[in-house]
């Protein structure tokens, strides 16, 4: 695909200082990209993505009243899958659709592998996604701010 002239370089996400927990902002040229980067930021807070091989995929389907709620569900779903599937993830593809009644639908495909503690050195264990200062903004780029309970 040719690069569009207004498609500026951006950092996918950045971590901010927080005394007890992990805080990050993830960006995107579209909400799909923002949600994909947010998932990557969440996971990188736990394990170095370079250590993760993508050998399996998990599909996720979610629906919510608004984009913020959907984002909360999406990130919480990743924590749920990590724990119940004992898996680590390094690729996140997000498809979004807004229904006629205004509700949002997400179809996600998550790639990764089962946890192998010999190769996956954990720096944190994300317990949950908080709603503290949780927000989505759109200026030049889409931006989501998240604080994780670790």
């Amino acid at each position: 695909m040719p690069v569009r002239p207004n498609y500026k370089w951006m950092m996918p996400f950045e971590y901010l200082e927080h005394t007890a927990d992990v805080k990050f902002r993830a960006y995107g040229h579209c909400p799909e990209e923002m949600l994909s980067n947010a998932a990557a930021a969440l996971f990188k807070a736990m394990v170095d993505p370079a250590a993760i091989n993508i050998t399996e995929f998990w599909n996720v389907e979610l629906e919510a009243q608004d984009l913020e709620q959907l984002a909360y569900q999406w990130l919480s779903e990743i924590v749920f899958l990590f724990e119940t599937e004992s898996a680590v993830f390094a690729s996140f593809t997000v498809g979004l659709k807004q229904n006629a009644n205004g509700t949002w639908r997400l179809e996600g495909k998550i790639g990764g592998e089962r946890i192998d503690l010999k190769r996956h050195a954990f720096e944190n264990e994300v317990k949950a996604v908080t709603l503290h200062q949780f927000q989505i903004t759109k200026n030049d780029l889409w931006c989501i701010q998240v604080i994780l309970d670790v």
Binding site: Y15, H18, S76, F122, E123, A128, T130, Q133, V150
Partner: protein, 475 residues
């Protein structure tokens, strides 16, 4: 900008007007030195809580106050049944994270030579760390019973003794559990993890009673100098996290439905008496009971390990406290007895002798208040005072409180150095992940003694004993 006001030596007030919409002032219980360590964000969080409907007296923060989400860590707030709210932001994700203290008849000097063996055996016996699943393999039916009956269920299953129950806050099982409020997801996370320690700041520690501050009360609690004690710090694991996550989403919608203006989405709440509030409370109690069952099972396996090396060691339960929970309690407000929903988020109940909730064995002195140190720093046992009822709804701090972010800690310390430094002091540490060890380095916490001294000086709870670690098993 309105500034916070020093009321007395250990009390600072966040005045109404510090931020718009405050219904009551805030109270932060810290010394001048600890005041310097309180981040501006923490004060904002105290002020935010003060805006919630039906809040009584003050939005409070204990001496270990630090930045949390929703409520600050160390936050205490009580709400009237009439016009008040309940909020998961005042409980946290790790519902009924708590501390249990076991005492032995063994002198620490007999334990010391075996410390490596004991810690390794405990590390084996109590699954911990990431992806750890229990030795228990609970069925779905057993899980439901754990949600309903907590420690009582554990005892019926053969974990621990009947006599343990009286020495747990709420007798180890809180009334009001509603398993229909626990989602399939929460069950899926909770079932394999029943009987696991978890990771992060959770630990299982063998300790020595280093100092006794109050001989009489120490005798009542069965503590003596040089004694071996065991401390267990953990909570409701994935079950609690998921129950909070699920209900937080519901309550985020409820604030719109009931037109409640909240300054932070994590303070999502619902009016007491509404179906959303009832449902959250029913789910929260399930998680609280799960946590008590969990600590009961872990204590049982700890007893088995000690029995192997010290037959007849009789590890009696001193007490078990919850430091992340919302409870219905009676308190005096402006001379009237009222039923309140007291939220303690990183705060420990500290009831004095006048409260019927205090077990019979401790009724004439007050409940044991268990304050865990961070890895490598002392823990404290205090005794609840009636004076705390008026000051803090009978609440004390819950630990030392962080001063450094996890990422900063990881940059500054390496896990293996932390371990080596602790070994130098004779403290044995066994952990599943060295990365996480760095985050819990002793230097990332406020000095636990300073925090406890404020609680003592205010008369919230009085110091009884200081416990130092001999060995730690961590997730």
């Amino acid at each position: 900008m309105v500034d916070i006001i020093k009321i007395s030596d250990n009390i600072f007030e966040v005045p109404i007007g510090y931020r718009p919409g405050m219904r009551v002032p805030g109270r932060i219980f810290v010394s001048q030195e600890l005041r310097e360590m309180v981040e501006p964000g923490t004060i904002d969080q105290v002020a935010n809580v003060a805006t919630l409907p039906g809040i009584v007296k003050y939005s409070m923060a204990m001496p270990d106050a630090h930045l949390g989400y929703g409520f600050p860590i160390g936050g205490v707030a009580a709400f009237r049944e009439e016009g008040g709210v309940i909020s998961p932001g005042g409980v946290g994700f790790d519902i009924n994270c708590g501390v249990r203290l076991l005492r032995s008849d063994i002198e620490a000097k007999s334990v010391q030579p075996l410390i490596n063996t004991l810690i390794s055996a405990l590390f084996e016996a109590v699954p911990s760390g990431l992806g750890a699943t229990g030795r228990l393999h609970a069925t779905d039916q057993q899980l439901t019973e754990a949600f309903m009956a907590g420690s009582r269920w554990a005892v019926e299953e053969g974990y621990g003794f009947e006599a343990d129950l009286a020495h747990c806050e709420e007798n180890g099982h809180m009334a009001g559990a509603d398993p229909s409020q626990v989602s399939v997801k929460a069950r899926k996370r909770g079932r394999p993890q029943l009987g696991t320690l978890g990771s992060g700041n959770h630990f299982l520690e063998i300790q020595r009673v280093e100092e006794i501050f109050d001989e009489d009360v120490a005798r009542k609690f069965g503590l003596f100098k040089g004694q071996t004690t065991i401390m267990i710090h953990c909570g409701s694991r994935g079950a609690g996290h998921q129950i909070c996550t699920d209900h937080l989403e519901v309550l985020a919608r409820a604030v719109r439905k009931y037109n409640i203006d909240i300054p932070d989405k994590q303070l999502a709440c619902a009016p007491l008496g509404s179906p959303e509030a009832r449902n959250y409370f029913g789910g929260m109690v399930c998680a609280a009971n799960y946590a008590w069952a969990n600590r009961h099972i872990i204590a049982h396996w700890t007893r088995e390990v000690f029995e192997r090396y010290f037959p007849g060691s009789n590890l009696d339960l001193v007490y078990d406290v919850a430091h992340n929970v919302a409870k219905i309690e009676e308190h005096d407000v402006d001379g009237r007895r009222e039923q309140l929903y007291v939220h303690r988020k990183g705060a420990t109940r500290a009831f004095g002798p006048s409260r019927r909730e205090v077990p019979d064995a401790y009724r004439n002195v007050g409940q044991p208040v268990l304050i865990p140190g961070s890895m490598g720093t002392p823990s404290y046992v205090l005794c609840g005072n009636d004076q705390a009822l008026d000051l803090t709804f009978g609440s004390a701090c819950h630990g030392a409180g962080r001063v450094m972010s996890r990422s900063q800690a990881t940059r500054m310390f390496a896990g293996k150095d932390v371990k080596a430094a602790l070994n130098k002091y004779g403290i044995v540490v066994k952990a599943t992940s060295p990365g996480m060890l760095a985050e819990e380095a002793p230097q990332v916490y406020k000095p636990s003694g300073d925090v406890v001294n404020v609680v003592h000086s205010l008369g919230i709870a009085t110091k009884v004993a200081k416990l130092v670690p001999l060995g730690v098993s961590k997730g």
